[in-house]
């Protein structure tokens, strides 16, 4: 097996491929996709991924409900989405073909494991006749391989039981696509050695299957289907392939290092946020404390307790957990303590679509607490951007002594992309100052500590237990500004409600103004937040290359909104707001700026494609042009 990536001169070049691996939940499609992605990343392609899997760990084998897919877009240039539609579909069984063929581009390539197309599996997938022999696949390039059988044969002399050998068939598929799309072989072989270290027969079986798949491409004369995607010309630097949840976890660790105080995570397992708990639990040498709490409420409560004690208190969850944490977040608003609440959004309401993406928690983040309880909201825009968004959330929380909600979503959480690793020296610092001495003189002339005496930013001191002379009592009952003593006085409550609103609004002076991407003189401006960044960017590039102007404004901060946003929006003929919800940001912008913003929505559990948005934006550009 030679490393073909180096010697694929005779192969047709393509500027990009969108490959979709689809199979049964037990077929290892996520792993196969992940390996293909890693090999492509190391090869130097730009890429973006979209893992899609059912909520059930093992839905009944062979059924449509059990189909697990992994889509990866590899490219020789800078890309921002996992592709509008796959150009290649790998289907490990009839259900996978049935479920995902509709996504494939016309004329695309279908690679199937023909061994799985038996009567039983065809019936489970709802095929009356085999799609391999009827007209279902007319118009596609079809590559059939008896993957199960060839994998078993490749393993027969290795002392691997046939049943175990069969489980390596995903490596056969990986070997075959690696040959077809000229991927380097070594990263996968090395990975097998490392991943299965100590389990020699598993290593042998996976390597044999991988090699057999690779050889099948060569011997079955599939050369006409081969494609080569050259490395992308990305900015110089050191890159790694990273998904949103890992980037977010590392961002929290980085923020803790920048601030010089330890990180505390209270969390309760929930899809798609659990991987942050898993990742942070591994890094105890950074002084990270993780608590897998008894419930969502305890998780945020413990984070608040740790923050009160001077740590960076963080809790991670998804929509259902956000609902449960609301009362404690309100307490943090009242106490004015730093707290970072991370919502990896998923389809709702209720249990909804646990493994699918949506961004419909924005209004809950804004208003989902009783009483007037404003807090800052920060959103990540791409998988790697989760790193920087996490740092920004921590910075605002600790510098402004407030709970902050950081929003990501299921798509960002699990998708990966190449990330140019930043220089840790350039990350800057987060300013922490714990109170150390009394800050007020009382009527008797004594120096005392007033926990709610504010600075010019209306920020109160962070006085942590253990500090002599600053003992004080705080709680969720309304308190007198300054002294912090319990107060039910009407005028005081009025003043405190206003103060809490004003101090959050003032944060707008401490965040970056938004910038216009694309043409600031365009008629149409698109305002986005969160993971729509990738699809909006893809759409903008398409429109630009077709000669249309578009302005793109992407919001890192959803509350307070950047100080220059209102002025900017008033300079456009039309404002369009694409969102993976029913128009929540659009409503906020209309309310805040009296701008006649138009909503573009998608709530199917899947991210927007660039094509969908390009079409939507084009319609707006046309409408404005026609009105002239």
């Amino acid at each position: 097996m030679t490393d073909i990536a180096q010697q694929a001169d005779d192969v047709r070049k393509a500027d990009g491929i969108v490959l979709r691996f689809a199979g049964d939940s037990g077929d290892g499609m996520q792993l196969t996709g992940d390996r293909f992605t890693s090999a492509s990343a190391l090869f130097g392609n730009d890429l973006a991924t979209l893992p899609e899997f059912p909520a059930e760990i093992r839905a009944p084998a062979g059924t449509l409900a059990g189909v697990s897919s992994f889509q990866v877009h590899i490219s020789d240039h800078d890309i921002t989405t996992p592709g509008d539609a796959p150009t290649v579909l790998v289907a490990m069984n009839p259900a996978a073909l049935k479920s995902d063929l509709r996504l494939l581009k016309p004329g695309g390539t279908v690679i199937v494991n023909s061994d799985a197309f038996n009567e039983r599996n065809l019936a489970k997938a709802g095929y009356e006749t085999s799609p391999l022999t009827d007209s279902t696949l007319d118009g596609y390039t079809v590559v059939t391989a008896p993957m199960t059988d060839l994998t078993k044969r490749a393993c027969q002399d290795l002392g691997v039981k046939p049943r175990d050998a069969e489980r390596s068939k995903n490596f056969f598929a990986l070997g075959l696509v690696s040959w077809l799309y000229s991927r380097p072989v070594k990263p996968t072989v090395d990975w097998i050695d490392g991943k299965f270290a100590g389990r020699d027969t598993v290593i042998a079986a996976n390597k044999a299957a991988f090699a057999a798949g690779h050889a099948f491409g060569e011997t079955a004369e599939l050369g006409a289907s081969r494609l080569m995607v050259a490395p992308a010309a990305l900015d110089p630097g050191t890159y790694t392939n990273i998904n949103g949840n890992t980037a977010l976890s590392w961002g929290l660790i980085a923020a803790s290092q920048q601030a010089g105080i330890p990180l505390f995570l209270g969390s309760y397992p929930i899809t798609p946020a659990s991987d942050i708990l898993h990742e942070l639990a591994r890094h105890k040498n950074f002084g990270v404390r993780t608590l897998q709490a008894e419930d969502e409420i305890a998780a945020v409560g413990a984070a608040l307790g740790a923050a009160y004690g001077g740590h960076i208190g963080v809790t991670t969850t998804s929509g259902p957990g956000m609902a449960l944490k609301a009362e404690t977040v309100g307490l943090a608003v009242s106490l004015e303590v730093p707290l970072v609440v991370i919502d990896i959004q998923r389809g709702g309401p209720s249990t909804g679509l646990p493994t699918k993406t949506e961004a419909a928690d924005l209004l809950m983040a804004m208003y989902g607490r009783h009483g007037e309880a404003p807090l800052p909201i920060v959103a990540a825009l791409s998988p790697s951007d989760c790193f920087f968004a996490a740092i920004e959330a921590v910075r605002i929380a600790v510098e402004h002594r407030t709970p902050v909600i950081l929003m990501s979503d299921g798509y960002l959480a699990n998708s990966s992309e190449p990330w140019r690793i930043p220089d840790v020296e350039q990350l800057g610092s987060i300013d922490i100052e714990f109170a150390s001495r009394p800050n007020h003189v009382n009527d008797e002339g004594e120096a005392v500590f007033w926990p709610f005496r504010r600075d010019e930013r209306l920020v109160r001191p962070w006085a942590i237990p253990g500090t002599p002379d600053l003992m004080h009592r705080i709680g969720g009952i309304e308190k007198e500004d300054g002294s912090g003593n319990i107060s039910y006085e009407p005028d005081n409550h009025q003043a405190m409600v206003r103060l809490r609103a004003e101090r959050i609004a003032l944060i707008a002076q401490h965040i970056s103004p938004v910038e216009v991407i694309g043409d600031p003189d365009a008629d149409v401006a698109v305002v986005g937040w969160g993971s729509t960044w990738g699809a909006i960017t893809g759409a903008r590039r398409r429109l630009e290359s077709a000669g249309h102007a578009l302005a793109h404004i992407h919001l890192r901060h959803l509350n307070p909104l950047p100080a220059n946003l209102g002025g900017l929006l008033s300079s456009f003929e039309r404002v369009v707001v694409p969102e993976m919800n029913m128009g929540q940001l659009c409503r906020m912008l209309r309310a805040e700026y009296l701008v006649d913003a138009k909503s573009v929505t998608k709530v199917s559990g899947q991210p927007f494609t660039a094509a969908e948005l390009a079409e939507a934006f084009y319609r707006e550009i046309e409408t404005v042009g026609a009105a002239r």
Binding site: A41, L42, G44, P231, A233, D235, P236, T238, Y239, T240, N241, I242, W250, I253, Q257, P262, F264, H283, K284, N285, F286, G287, V288, R289, L291, E294, D295, I297, A298, A299, G301, A302, L304, G305, A306, A307, Y308, G309, G310, H311, E327, T328, L331, L335, I421, V424, P465, G466, T467, P468, D469, L470, M471, H472, R473, I474, G475, G476, N485, I486
Partner: protein, 337 residues
Amino acid sequence: MTDVPVTTRKDWSTDQEVRWCPGCGDYSILTAVQLLMPELGVRREDTVFVSGIGCAARFPYYMNTYGLHAIHGRSPAVATGLAMARGDLHVWVVGGDGDMMSIGGNHLIHALRRNVNLNILLFNNQIYGLTKGQYSPTSERGKVTKSTPHGSVEQPFNAVSLALGAEASFVARTHDMDRGHMQEMFRRAHDHPGAALVEVYQNCNVFNDGAFAAITKRDARDSMLIDLRHGEPVRFGADGEFGVVIEDGRARVVTVADVGVDALVVHDETDPDPSVAFSLSRLANTNDVPTPVGVFRAVDRSEYGSAVTAQIAASQAKAGPGDLHKLLHSRPTWQVA
């Protein structure tokens, strides 16, 4: 480290007006705690009182220490985070029966199970006071309250049984009529490394007056309170005429003259098996029968925060202190020139 300064009750008291009803049992508990604190050899600034919501939960406002008045039921969770983050602090949790066993029941049992270093004072008055008189999870069957006009049909919790079932490493019971006994229990809780639960029978003179009078009034105590003392036979009565035996795993009150002293169970609070302690807790499920007070259980078990800190230390010893540059390069990387 300098010596802990000598303090008095005044140093541990705040200038805040105490807002409990006149005659409330909470006053005597507050006095017991304020008088005890100077004797514990700890600094005020290293002491934190955390509470939830309810009458009892106003406690932190009256202690001149750090104090956090959180939300209903969540104080064990908030205190868990604080104690995990700050092993140097002495964290006390104060709450009532509704706060700790109803809305916060889940947090209480998990704090006990984890053995977080908390001193949990559970003021049990068998009623909701701050919401003006509804039955609580410790109210007796048949209890007539505003929310149970026909009498409660619910089985109450026995707080000591609950704590023992939740794997608590320290469980004690005391009552608001005996300052000396309260202080002894609170001191023991403070000295215990790990989660210590002290149930305090507390009189609510407005909504449930006299709930514990049959066992705590001065002339009833000898015959109605069974004082558990480690290493001694379980015996009570003005002349020690009554005792407790364990038969078929069940505790039973006997007359010593009938069975002889040697038949009495000798209390062992350090017994790793909580079965006998549990049996003792089952002696009294209503407040009109002889009721054990004192330390039911006090066993050594790994304290949660220290165990977490030890893992951090071990990880740092093995991998070195965290290096962010190394972390960001810990997955496969490639260069673009």
